[in-house]
């Protein structure tokens, strides 16, 4: 794709390794502590630093995003491959949890559980979290999965050897092997669109504005505004992946 990889070269790696102790101490004293919700950014970097927000309260499970994503990004139509999908959570009065995602929610949902048995029900759209400390980037043996300078986790199709280690390492099930390209694939945050100043396809089509795309460094922007006005959480925070996908109204049942 010709995008600059922010992963350091071997030489830089050695250099930084030798200076590691000093740097660690310096960051400890110098930098303010970054909480879980706002993932830490690489120090001294400029330009946008992208993240994503999802408002669970607004999602109606129409599946348009999942559909648009498949069309926009050449994701196979078969029901085994998704860059984004929607999960329907239904908690029954007896406390049991039912989760469904037929065809990733592309065709929408119907509630099969009778109304009177339902305690609460909601939809959770999922996609790549564009983790700042992503396990997938960490494990890729050849560096085919990498961070773009804007904080987007991307895949170099011409480089991936298809070992699938990253698929194992992603805690969120975001990756699949593209059956035609025979390399790994996942949400690219519609890099080709956002580079041109457009919104990702899934954000564009969402009828309720449940999906918010934005620059975390733009303090006046829509994403920071969303984070300020809502109580947001990321998925599986205990894994410390530095996820930049923030959910409003994330219920404890969601994993």
């Amino acid at each position: 794709m010709g995008i600059k990889k922010s992963r350091p070269s071997r030489r830089e790696f050695l250099k930084s390794a030798s200076a590691l102790t000093g740097v660690a101490v310096a960051t400890f004293i110098g930098a303010p502590f970054n909480g879980v919700v706002i993932a830490s950014e690489p120090a001294g970097a400029k330009g946008p630093w992208y993240g994503y927000g999802i408002d669970i309260e607004k999602c109606i499970g129409c599946g348009r995003c999942a559909n648009a994503c498949k069309n926009e990004n050449n994701v196979p139509q078969k029901p085994y491959y998704f860059r984004t999908w929607i999960e329907q959570y239904t908690i029954k009065n007896d406390g049991s949890i039912h989760i469904e995602s037929p065809n990733g929610g592309v065709d929408g949902f119907e509630q099969k559980i009778p109304e009177e048995e339902i305690f609460k029900s909601f939809f959770v759209p999922k996609m790549c979290n564009h983790c700042h400390k992503s396990p997938c980037v960490q494990v890729c043996p050849v560096g085919a999965t990498y961070d773009s300078p804007e904080g987007v986790v991307l895949i170099d199709d011409s480089y991936c050897i298809g070992c699938r280690y990253c698929v194992q390492a992603c805690p969120y099930g975001c990756r699949y092997i593209h059956p035609e390209k025979k390399v790994v694939d996942k949400c690219s945050l519609c890099y080709h669109r956002i580079k041109k100043g457009m919104n990702p396809a899934c954000v564009e089509v969402c009828p309720t504005n449940a999906r918010i795309f934005g620059d975390l460094r733009d303090k006046e922007g829509p994403l920071v505004e969303f984070l300020r006005t809502h109580t947001c959480q990321v998925l599986k925070p205990h894994l410390n992946t530095g996820s930049k996908l923030y959910y409003n109204a994330l219920s404890a049942e969601v994993r």
């Binding site: 085994y80 494990v139 043996p141 070992c163 390492a169 099930g173 990756r175 092997i177 994993r255």
Partner: protein
């Protein structure tokens, strides 16, 4: 391709509970089971050989070279299951050209080469150098030239040079032991470091892999020794068998304790993933883990070998029991790898459901491919034993 879709279609109908939609496809199949299995056999066989050399265990002399050649035969093919499971096998060399220093898998190529080139080949070469030179003089025809090439032009057989061969060989063995630990401990780390997967993520994983590797390697060398003796129609030295079995017994105890510790730790801590993992163990893994790995592959061998430490029945009976035990242990360790690799992918990372695994026969991830990568090293071993017969070495 259509086949693949049909397979996934069938898998979709077998889902239990909820899994992430991308999890229908199980990504690491039987070849990724074979890979740590084969590497484990290498490390185990080598460690047994080193024991003999470094600690000077004289009784094990007849198995020393068998163990080294076994290690070499399996090491030569160890990467092939991995490479053939890639979706882009043609790009495999990229691991060596542009490795990502943060990736556990990227280091494999280097650990492998170090072990193959520096440790095993050198050790075997120094060990056989004198015989190779002598054979290159005695043999006729093509074989003469094969040995000649293997001498790489060094024909010096002076007592001093032989003395040096021994010294260097010893030194390589000493370097080789930590290398063997590295080779297999590292394979355990590939799994143990995946924090997304609670069935894998454990600091004990490298250690467990290491000890199970030793168990399987020792069992394999024991079997090869018995089979080779049978084919050559020579009497099996019961002292050798008893000693190997004793090692097998001790290492098996350590291996069993480590695995038990790992499980007890999981049960006692009972983290978020506890429910799904206990369902996994009592359900989908009950046969491969409970019956094969634990009962047949561990408890029965432990019992039999333990009994023989106290009471020794007739040679004939012991021989047969050792044979069966060796076999059971090898199967048990294979399924240990299976339970880790396949077992770790059977439950969803949402912890809300299960997929299943259906072994396919053909294709790059199929059973036949796996069998191929298990049979080829055995053939290589037969060839090596023919080319470098430990029993025909020229007495000093």
């Amino acid at each position: 391709m259509e086949n693949h879709y049909d397979h996934l279609q069938e898998m979709l109908t077998r889902v239990d509970g909820f899994i992430y939609p991308n999890e229908i496809e199980l990504h690491w199949g039987i070849l990724v089971v074979v890979y740590p299995y084969v590497t484990g056999l290498v490390a185990g066989a080598f460690i047994l050989a080193s024991l003999e050399r470094v600690f000077n265990v004289k009784v094990l002399k007849p198995t020393y070279h068998i163990a080294l050649l076994t290690a070499l035969a399996f090491l030569l093919t160890a990467t092939l299951p991995l490479v053939s499971h890639l979706s882009q096998p043609g790009r495999a060399f990229q691991i060596m050209v542009t490795p990502n220093p943060n990736s556990a898998m990227a280091i494999f190529g280097f650990v492998y080469l170090w072990y193959l080139m520096v440790v095993l080949l050198l050790e075997i070469w120094f060990d056989y150098r004198r015989d190779i030179v002598i054979w290159s003089r005695e043999k006729k025809g093509l074989l003469k030239w094969v040995y000649k090439i293997m001498t790489i032009g060094i024909f010096d057989l002076s007592p001093k040079s032989i003395e040096w061969d021994k010294k260097i060989g010893y030194f390589i063995t000493v370097v080789g032991i930590p290398s063997a630990f590295l080779l297999h401990g590292y394979v355990g780390f590939i799994f143990g470091s995946v924090k997304a997967n609670p069935w894998w993520s454990s600091v004990l994983m490298p250690v467990i892999f290491l000890f199970s590797a030793m168990v399987s390697g020792i069992a394999l060398v024991m079997l090869v020794y018995m089979i080779v003796s049978f084919i050559r129609r020579v009497k099996i030295d019961m002292k050798v068998l008893d000693t190997i079995a004793k090692y097998l017994f001790y290492i098996l105890i350590i291996d069993f304790s480590l695995e038990a510790l790992d499980q007890i730790h999981r049960i006692y801590e009972a983290e978020e993933s506890f429910e799904i993992i206990s369902l996994l163990v009592s359900g989908k893994l009950s046969i491969t883990l409970g019956l094969i790995q634990l009962f047949l592959g561990t408890l029965i061998p432990l019992f039999a070998l333990g009994l023989f430490q106290l009471y020794k029945p007739a040679n004939r009976i012991r021989k047969w029991v050792y044979f069966i035990v060796g076999f059971l242990v090898l199967i048990g360790i294979f399924f240990m790898r299976w339970n880790v690799v396949i077992g770790g992918q059977l439950f969803s990372k949402s912890f809300y459901g299960f997929t299943s695994f259906k072994l396919q026969l053909i294709g790059s991830e199929g059973l036949w491919m796996a069998i191929l990568w298990m049979v080829v090293p055995v053939l290589i071993l037969a060839f090596l034993l023919w080319l470098l017969p430990p029993w025909k070495r020229v007495p000093e």
